[in-house]
């Protein structure tokens, strides 16, 4: 029995070793970027500007995908999309949207207190943060579909307008 267990563990380690570069079912950040782009489409920001700034808190793989988006698309109303890495939280003021990566989830309270009622949409990667100050958080459903929760209270507080179509797709956090 012990030999069987040892062989099995060795087998698993071997498999992991030979396959570490192959693609498998893990988080696809392109999917999250697709959702972020739709948030831009279906949410209205109050202040007109020439560009739309997306800030990313944390060293997340989503940055690569966001840069790809910014390279080929503008917002539906023709603004250039700018991607900004947030290393210092005080640099979030000019952001229209802030993506809070999973590993920096504990910074939500600090982020909310800095932004207060500025019209910057906080989208959190971690489930549950729409109840802790973010406007939107992602979650993965039982069948692996990507879902998102929206806090209408937080969104309205920032004078952002979200379309009914998007709300129908969302889970309401409050």
């Amino acid at each position: 029995m012990r030999r069987t267990v040892t062989l099995t563990i060795l087998m698993l380690l071997g498999i992991i070793g030979i396959s570490h570069k192959s693609h498998a079912q893990e988080k696809d950040y392109r999917t999250q970027v697709l959702f972020l782009y739709n948030f831009i489409k279906y949410i209205s920001w109050p202040s007109p500007a020439n560009q739309f700034v997306i800030g990313v808190v944390g060293d997340s793989p989503i940055l690569d995908e966001l840069h790809k988006l910014a390279g080929i698309r503008k917002t539906p109303d023709g603004k250039t999309i700018i991607i900004k890495v947030i290393e210092n939280m005080n640099a979030v003021y000019d952001c229209n949207m802030i993506y809070l990566s999973d590993m920096r989830s504990k910074d939500i309270i600090k982020l909310v207190s800095i932004i207060q009622l500025q019209p910057a949409l906080i989208v959190a990667e971690r489930d549950g943060l729409a109840k802790k100050g973010a406007e939107i958080n992602f979650f993965i459903q039982d069948d692996d579909k990507l879902g998102f929760s929206i806090s209408r209270k937080n969104i309205e507080g920032k004078k952002l307008k979200v379309s009914g179509e998007l709300l129908r797709l969302a889970e309401l956090a409050d």
């Binding site: 062989l7 079912q25 739709n38 698309r73």
Partner: protein, 708 residues
């Protein structure tokens, strides 16, 4: 053992490299178009991007393990999922063809004309594995047994969800070691009808001539369906040892056209909104030669003759709460008769009247509770309105059971947690309480399951009627058997198309209920169980799928139950040494090692080929031999490792809905015998059939009106 592991290791490497090369060929969609996706399309997007064939399969939601829809990788049990496509392409003739490819599952002969199932080395025939068709229990309630071999309508199956471990905390008494949940095509899926004829011919006799039929339709809120199978078949065409009434007579007789396995199974449903009524009638008949004497051969004939009805209503009280009251009734008159002596007919009757209510409440997306209560009465009689117990004749045996069960599922970021328990009170044998706890966690490619469950098997009517306190037949009541199962499952998705899993288990059975055939009695023995590992690699792509698995069990570290072991057997009321050089870590009838390899390949739009290979290590079982003096005597037989293979070709004809299938089963003409797993059974192994050529013709007629 090392060779087996090496073969698997090489296979895994091959599959991985193959898939990596293949993935490079995948064309990536234009990013620009990708961001134009509509909101409607957005709601179907997976968190992991566009799902591969495998991901679609393993992420499909199942309910068998928790009653809450969860994907296989996060379900709180060791799960095997078999799709309609797998069954259809493989040409599977019956459930044996399907289930023997499941890790840890195997079949054996009960010595009395029943092929039953074993799980992880443990004989599970009489009430230790629950078989459900559309939620309706198929186990015969008199003994708890389920019979296999050319039985059940294979063409009606939409999918099979299998728990390879305990399910008592949800399902109660018969789900001690496993659950087989067969889900047939619902009216919406049928949306018309089908007819499938199967013809099989073994080397020396007919194998089967069966007809599967199904019709169904959903019209607005109303739906109906009727599916079933009827026909005839033979278990084997090889010769079997047939005992004489006295020990000086024995012979080998052919089973060709002599070993009937005739299915007759119908499953009807009508539904309106949340209400459904289901009726299932099963009258599976089998014959086997058991005795020979001066007056000729004697057959043992069995038939199941069971009618079950379930009415239930699912009331969605709110988005969060649903209530499902149900009524379940079953009337069963399974029969055993000796054809050459019609007076020797035993017709037992078992009835169950059950009412249940189940409530499911979603506290949030992450917390769900399912709770319920069941009350049922089991009544056993025979056709003379009296039933033989160990001490006297009584008009009937009747007992009542009430059960409460509850399960809490918490989906937390750290892990999914399932806590559940079932409490049962039986008027004959008292209380049983079975808790379960499960942690499951999926991190990208990796998944982990830590599972612990108590389980129990309540004595059946027959156990109570013929139950004694010990192996000597002392008067006293029989009790339930209790099982503890601990499992660890590790899973790793090598690529988008390949999933590998390793499941380690330890099953410990206390007070197992065992039939002692020499005494015609049941009693609780001391302890039994097994431990081992099941490995599986599954690759699924558009062109087809390849699945390989390996199962291993041992009883080396378990308390060995003598009657299941190869060390000693019971004859009369005394233990006899087996006299054989038997492995100490293997139980009777079931091989320690099993390897299966299945491949389905789509050759063209209209042509697909499927093949399976099964290898098992040596097995042990008792057999008979004729001595120099002409008498027959029992001995322990070591059955050499066996290799079996099937191949099946499916062709979709230009006529819409018309498919033709042809295949060869037992390609190598392996002389496989179902061995007897109980050391008190004075029966020889039952030979399975020789090479079988099978033709299947099926016609699917879909309604012109679209599915609702």
């Amino acid at each position: 053992m090392k060779k087996v592991s090496s073969v698997f290791f090489l296979l895994f490497i091959y599959l991985t490299l193959h898939a990596q090369q293949d993935s490079l060929k995948i064309k990536i969609d234009s990013l620009y178009q990708y961001y134009d996706m509509s909101l409607e399309e957005l709601s179907h997007v997976k968190a992991s991007g566009v799902s591969s064939e495998l991901e679609t399969f393993i992420n499909s939601l199942i309910t068998v393990a928790s009653q809450k829809a969860i994907s296989t990788r996060e379900s709180p049990s060791a799960i095997s999922l078999i799709s309609e496509e797998d069954i259809k392409k493989s040409g599977a003739r019956d459930l044996i063809d399907v289930l023997r490819l499941v890790p840890g599952f195997d079949f054996a002969y009960d010595g009395s004309n029943t092929i039953g199932i074993g799980i992880r080395g443990n004989w599970a025939n009489e009430g230790k594995v629950l078989l459900q068709v559309d939620g309706v229990q198929m186990n015969e309630i008199f003994s708890g047994a389920t019979q296999f071999g050319n039985n059940f309508p294979i063409a009606s199956i939409s999918r099979i969800e299998i728990i390879r471990g305990p399910g008592s905390a949800i399902y109660g008494g018969f789900a001690e070691l496993g659950v087989i949940n067969i889900i047939t095509k619902n009216p919406d899926e049928l949306n018309g009808g089908y007819i499938t004829g199967t013809f099989g011919q073994m080397q020396h006799g007919s194998a089967r001539r069966t007809l599967n039929l199904g019709i169904g339709k959903k019209v607005k809120a109303f739906e109906f369906s009727l599916t079933g199978v009827m026909g005839e078949g033979n278990r084997s065409d090889r010769t079997a040892f047939v005992r004489g009434v006295s020990t000086t007579i024995s012979s080998r007789e052919t089973m060709a056209n002599n070993s009937a396995t005739n299915p007759f199974f119908w499953n009807g449903k009508i539904g309106y909104k949340g209400f459904s009524l289901r009726l299932i009638y099963d009258n599976y008949k089998t014959d086997v030669l058991t005795l020979t004497d001066e007056s000729g051969k004697r057959f043992l004939s069995r038939y199941t003759n069971a009618l079950s009805a379930e009415a239930k209503y699912t009331w969605k009280a709110s988005d969060k709460l649903s209530l499902t009251p149900s009524l379940f009734l079953t009337w069963q008159s399974p029969g055993v008769s000796n054809l050459s002596d019609s007076l020797n007919l035993i017709q037992d009757r078992g009835h169950r009247f059950q009412s249940s209510v189940t409530a499911a409440y979603d506290f949030s997306r992450k917390i769900n509770m399912v709770t319920g209560a069941t009350y049922f009465t089991d009544i056993g009689t025979n056709d003379a309105d009296s039933i033989t117990t160990i001490s006297n004749y009584v008009s009937s045996i009747q007992y009542h059971t009430y059960a409460l069960f509850s399960q809490l599922t918490i989906k937390h970021r750290i892990a999914n947690i399932v806590l559940g328990a079932r409490y049962e009170n039986n008027s004959e044998f008292g209380d049983a309480f079975v808790p379960r706890i499960a942690f499951t966690k999926r991190v990208d490619r990796f998944h982990l399951k830590l599972l612990y469950s108590n389980s129990f098997r309540s004595p059946s009517i027959q156990n109570i009627a013929r139950g004694v306190a010990n192996t000597s037949g002392a008067i006293g009541s029989i009790g339930p058997e209790h099982t503890r199962v601990a499992e660890i499952e590790l899973g790793y998705q090598l690529t988008r198309d390949i999933l590998t899993t390793a499941n380690f288990f330890n099953t410990s059975i206390k007070d197992p209920i065992v039939y002692i055939s020499d005494l015609n009695l049941y009693t609780n023995f001391d302890k039994s169980g097994s431990q081992g590992v099941e490995l599986e690699a599954r690759m699924k792509k558009r062109w087809g799928s390849i699945t390989a698995n390996y199962s291993f069990y041992t009883v080396a570290n378990q308390t060995r139950l003598q009657i299941y072991s190869t060390q000693q057997y019971i004859q009369g009321d005394t233990l006899q040494p087996s006299g054989g050089d038997a492995s100490k870590s293997t139980l009777l009838a079931f091989p320690a090692h099993k390897i299966t390899l299945t491949a389905n390949v789509t050759l063209s739009k209209s042509l697909s080929i499927s093949s399976s290979i099964l290898w098992n290590s040596k097995r042990y079982g008792y057999d008979f031999q004729t001595s120099d003096q002409g008498t027959y005597e029992i001995y322990l037989k070591e059955d050499a490792p066996k290799l079996m293979s099937n191949i099946f070709l499916t062709w979709s004809s230009p006529v819409k809905g018309l498919d033709l299938g042809a295949g060869v089963f037992n390609l190598f003409n392996t002389r496989y015998n179902y061995m007897v797993p109980v050391g008190s059974r004075t029966a020889a192994p039952l030979p399975s059939g020789s090479r079988e050529y099978t033709i299947r013709l099926s016609f699917l007629l879909k309604s012109k009106t679209p599915q609702s």
